[in-house]
């Protein structure tokens, strides 16, 4: 691989140990590269200083796009492109447009958000991300440090003292 990173990481057995350790690392001003967990750990985000995801704002924009596409599309088709009278109703029969407008709003918002989610996370079919430890998706909670950013010996002693069950170095 072209870009490799030397990392040092500690594995914890429990999410509460993890949160405590992240707090300690923050107060010791150790630059955490990333934290990896087998499931979403509640209460980790604020401790880690992650700002709230703005994915829902993107979802709203995509949804609006769907609303407009459906409503303006049907309006154009039925009033300009090919006006037909159905059952004596007006060409621009707004109530009848509501169901499809709603469905396309949901469709656009969902597809847009999911695609955005994978793109910003750098995930997708065929993506191979370096594996730090195989047990992270099983039962280990991992705090990883980039060796370039931190004092390795300091981090190592921190990991050991904060209750990590294992400490390893690796190049990813």
């Amino acid at each position: 691989m072209a870009n490799t990173t030397d990392i040092i990481y500690g594995l914890y057995n429990d999410e509460e140990d993890l949160i405590r350790a992240v707090k300690e690392a923050k107060s010791a001003h150790l630059e955490i590269m990333d934290v990896y967990t087998p499931f979403p750990v509640h209460g980790l985000d604020p401790v880690l200083g992650l700002s709230e995801s703005r994915l829902h704002i993107a979802g709203f924009v995509y949804g609006m796009l769907g609303t407009l596409t459906a409503f303006l599309g049907m309006t154009w088709i039925f009033t300009k492109d090919w006006p037909i009278i159905f059952g004596g109703k007006p060409h621009w029969s707004v109530p009848a447009f509501i169901p499809i407008t709603f469905e396309l709003t949901v469709l656009f918002a969902s597809i847009g958000m999911v695609v955005t989610f994978y793109i910003i996370n750098g995930l997708g079919p065929g993506v191979v991300n370096p594996t730090i430890d195989l047990r992270i998706t099983d039962d280990k909670f991992c705090i990883a440090f980039d060796k370039k950013e931190v004092d390795t010996s300091k981090v190592e002693s921190f990991l050991r003292s904060s209750g990590a069950s294992e400490v390893h170095s690796k190049t990813i």
């Binding site: 429990d14 990333d34 829902h56 949901v106």
Partner: protein, 590 residues
């Protein structure tokens, strides 16, 4: 943190699992060779599927004249099956979306399989409108796209077209929701796999790493998808009901249809989820994850929606009578007493009467009864659609056009074929993907599993209605301690470690303290307090709760002085304890 869980709730994950155990148990079905049950099921399903495909090919080749539809009865088994499958497809999104919004933690045990079921049911449903149009090869005319026929557009005012949009949207959103939930679990399988399997699962898992930021976005995504899928799931069957309700056929032209169809859809969906879950938990040995508690929760929903459906049936009858409209009155009279009376009574018995058994807790918690009733409901809901469609059409305005309809072997074959498609896909899914959401079950293990570590931790381990579990509690407690994982704290908010060391295998005679007799000691042991040290560190409120749990009155047996006494006993200050007890009146501070 994810909120409070009442300590009296039944644990959703049983068997004292660790995170690793969960991974092992839930990945196992994808890793070992399939069992005999699976193989037999798969052969049966794929045979049905093959026969179904043959019948579909027969229909396309010879035309829908091979079906017994006639000029009067234009919709028969085809649309009955369509509505039936779509209804079944409602439970998945209901479980994953609505129950997520309501923070119902029991959804984690069943959501994955229910979502998969939704997707497969919608595939089966979508087949029918596709082939019942006759010329299936031009079915893409449904879609509005710039074409060389004018361009001629579909009629956007038609409920049949709304249906196309509703179902394709529903399918897409369910698929995205389901797959996004699967990605982290595929990563779990990937990290255990070797060789070719590892490569395959790496593609399936999209390179998931488990980074904290990814999880945060994943949760945000799931929450918003749930938020928009909730009105979506309600809209889909509403629109399906519009296919009927916007017509001018007596018996269809009613405003009650949307809510009645939605309730019926949830009802039939849950019945199918139960049918599948009961088989799945047995086949893959998942009784600790899909517990009796899960089954009971679903049975409660069955009872509610089944009763709503029953009320809707009766309301229809009442309104038909009350409207004074003879055609409407005849339509309903004909349903109950006409040539298809048997399907009406089948529907009434299966949908309205049979679920009433679930008023009894014993029935709700019986796997056998639940399975039987879920099958009844699957049949009953099929009858309901048949009653609405065929019975109504068979007796329309002109007696000269009245007709009778029974399906040909081709129509029956296609229906059996969709059952084959459904189970083939489900069985394949259960082999390839974890049928229970691994990451989500892990995330509730400590808040709602039997390793609950919140306030009143130890209380969670037993059913309070039952006083016979104290020994079990002790064994759970010492097991937790032996793990040394910190998974289990004896009394929360206390010096757990100290308590831990003294606890294993040690038990003080708590009756040395004033106010504590054999009954009280039993109550404390039941709450996980065995030693003076533990009692000294306990909170008064926790102690009172333990007494209440053991059926004692904390006002009569006031524990306020107990920790103080216990502290002296722990430190061996027996003289001071004697002095204190002299000042107490029956253990009370006076």
């Amino acid at each position: 943190m994810s909120g409070h869980v009442s300590p009296i709730r039944e644990p959703l994950v049983q068997g004292h699992k660790t995170y690793h155990d969960i991974t092992e148990d839930l990945c196992a079905p994808t890793e070992r060779k399939p069992g005999t049950g699976w193989v037999i099921g798969f052969i049966l399903s794929i045979t049905l599927l093959g026969f179904g495909l043959f019948c579909i090919a027969w229909t396309v080749w010879h035309g829908i004249g091979t079906w017994n539809l006639n000029r009067t009865i234009g919709w028969g088994w085809d649309i009955t099956n369509f509505v039936w499958w779509i209804g079944i497809g409602h439970a998945g999104t209901l479980i994953s979306a609505i129950l997520l919004l309501f923070r119902q933690k029991w959804r984690t045990g069943v959501n994955r399989a229910a979502e998969a079921m939704t997707i497969f049911a919608v595939i089966c449903a979508a087949l029918f409108p596709g082939i019942h149009v006759g010329r299936a090869w031009v079915v893409f005319y449904f879609f509005p796209y710039p074409n060389t026929r004018g361009p001629l557009w579909p009629n956007f005012n038609s409920p049949l077209l709304w249906d196309l949009f509703a179902i394709s949207t529903y399918f897409t959103v369910s698929l995205l929701f389901w797959y996004t939930g699967l990605v982290p679990d595929f990563a779990t399988v990937r990290d255990r796999a070797k060789g070719m399997r590892r490569k395959i699962y790496n593609v399936l898992s999209f390179g998931w790493t488990g980074s904290a930021k990814h999880w945060q976005r994943w949760e945000a995504l799931c929450l918003v998808l749930a938020g928009i899928a909730t009105p979506l799931v309600l809209s889909v069957h509403t629109i399906v009901s519009f296919d009927f309700a916007t017509s001018v056929i007596p018996g269809w032209h009613t405003t009650i249809f949307p809510p009645y169809f939605v309730a019926g859809a949830i009802f039939s969906g849950f019945a199918m989820v139960l049918t599948l879950m009961i088989v799945t938990r047995k086949l893959f040995n998942l009784q600790n994850y899909i517990t009796i508690g899960h089954i009971e929760s679903m049975n409660k929903i069955i009872l509610v929606t089944g009763t709503i459906v029953g009320v809707a049936y009766l309301t229809e009858l009442f309104i038909a009578w009350y409207s004074g409209y003879v055609y409407e009155q005849f339509a309903f009279f004909n349903r109950a007493t006409g040539p298809y009376w048997w399907s009406y009574f089948g529907m009434m018995f299966c949908n309205v009467i049979s679920p009433q058994l679930f008023w009894s807790r014993k029935m709700r918690r019986s796997v056998f009864v639940t399975f039987l009733i879920s099958i009844f409901i699957n049949i009953g809901m099929w009858f309901e659609r048949f009653v609405i469609i065929a019975t109504t059409l068979a007796r329309d305005y002109l007696p000269s056009s009245w007709s009778y309809y029974s399906p040909t072997w081709v129509e029956m074959g296609i229906f059996l074929g969709t059952i084959g498609i459904f189970f083939t896909l489900y069985l394949l899914f259960a082999r390839v993907a974890p049928v229970v959401a691994i990451a989500e079950v892990k995330s509730i293990l400590k808040t709602a599993g039997d390793q609950y570590t919140g306030p009143n931790a130890i209380h969670h381990h037993h059913d309070h209605a039952d006083h016979g579990h104290h020994e079990e509690v002790l064994s759970i407690a010492s097991e937790g301690m032996a793990d040394d994982d910190g998974h289990l704290q004896v009394v929360s908010g206390t010096a757990a470690n100290q308590a831990t060391e003294t606890m294993v295998g040690q038990k003080d005679d708590l009756r040395k303290l004033e106010g504590i007799g054999p009954k009280m000691e039993e109550a404390l042991n039941g709450g996980g307090v065995y030693t003076f040290a533990e009692l000294a560190d306990a909170q008064i409120d926790n102690l009172k709760q333990m007494l209440i749990d053991a059926g004692q009155n904390p006002d009569i047996n006031d524990p306020t002085s107990w920790p103080q006494q216990a502290a002296l006993a722990r430190d061996g200050k027996w003289d001071d304890l004697q002095d204190l007890q002299d000042r107490l009146d029956g253990g009370r501070i006076v």
